[in-house]
């Protein structure tokens, strides 16, 4: 399953869908909102937006790339949009394979490709404004 969602990700359902008697390994990745407090100030939450339906199609393309490269029998990639609070998942990847090597490689590949080709953007929202991650454009004064 490949989807972009506006609500919390139902990770349990993704795992259930990936359990198959012909697979011995399920590797998953959850990207969660990390708050780096080292600077004194702190991020309150992240806010994601996407160019749809291009972003949806790019998730499916990543799934196809994985099926071309590895013996992976099930892949799900779900990305969340809107506000995501600290510790909450913004992206979930699940890959099931007969063997653990391909499962690990596929889930790692999926997150790297998401960060390369899927038109999704996040901004860090601070108490005093926001910053677009990767562009350093925003409303924070400094």
């Amino acid at each position: 399953m490949f989807a972009i969602v506006e609500e919390p990700i139902d990770f349990g359902a993704l795992i259930s869908a990936a359990q198959r008697p012909d697979c011995g390994a399920i590797s998953t990745f959850l990207g969660t909102t990390r708050i780096d407090e080292s600077s004194g100030a702190s991020v309150e939450y992240l806010e994601y937006e996407a160019y749809r339906p291009m972003a949806d199609r790019k998730l499916e393309e990543i799934g196809e790339e994985i099926q071309d490269r590895w013996d992976v029998r099930h892949v799900s990639i779900i990305h969340r949009l809107g506000r995501v609070d600290p510790g909450e998942p913004s992206v979930a990847i699940v890959a099931a394979s007969p063997r653990r090597g391909p499962a690990f490689e596929a889930s790692r590949y999926a997150i790297e490709r998401i960060k390369e080709i899927v038109p999704i953007w996040k901004r860090e929202v601070w108490s005093d404004g926001y910053v677009w991650v990767g562009s350093q454009v925003g409303t924070r004064s400094q």
């Binding site: 339906p53 992206v91 080709i117 038109p119 999704i120 953007w121 677009w132 990767g134 562009s135």
Partner: protein, 80 residues
Amino acid sequence: MVKVLLFGAAADRAGTRQIEISVQDGATLTEIWPLLTDRHPDLAPMRDTLAFAVNGEYARMEASVAPDDEVAILPPVSGG
């Protein structure tokens, strides 16, 4: 009319998420870009960081655009 969609930092810089421009049939993205920065000069400094899409697929600057095409201006993606 070509519809130009802007996202993330590019939408912030332009102060809008959508621009309609009339272009000659067959104009390339290279030719369209100055029309956008004329209207929204704050976009200009972002040029080297941007990618472009035509009708939902990444496109090179040499790609030509027809009326009714949808162009998207894509800052560095930061999903995940």
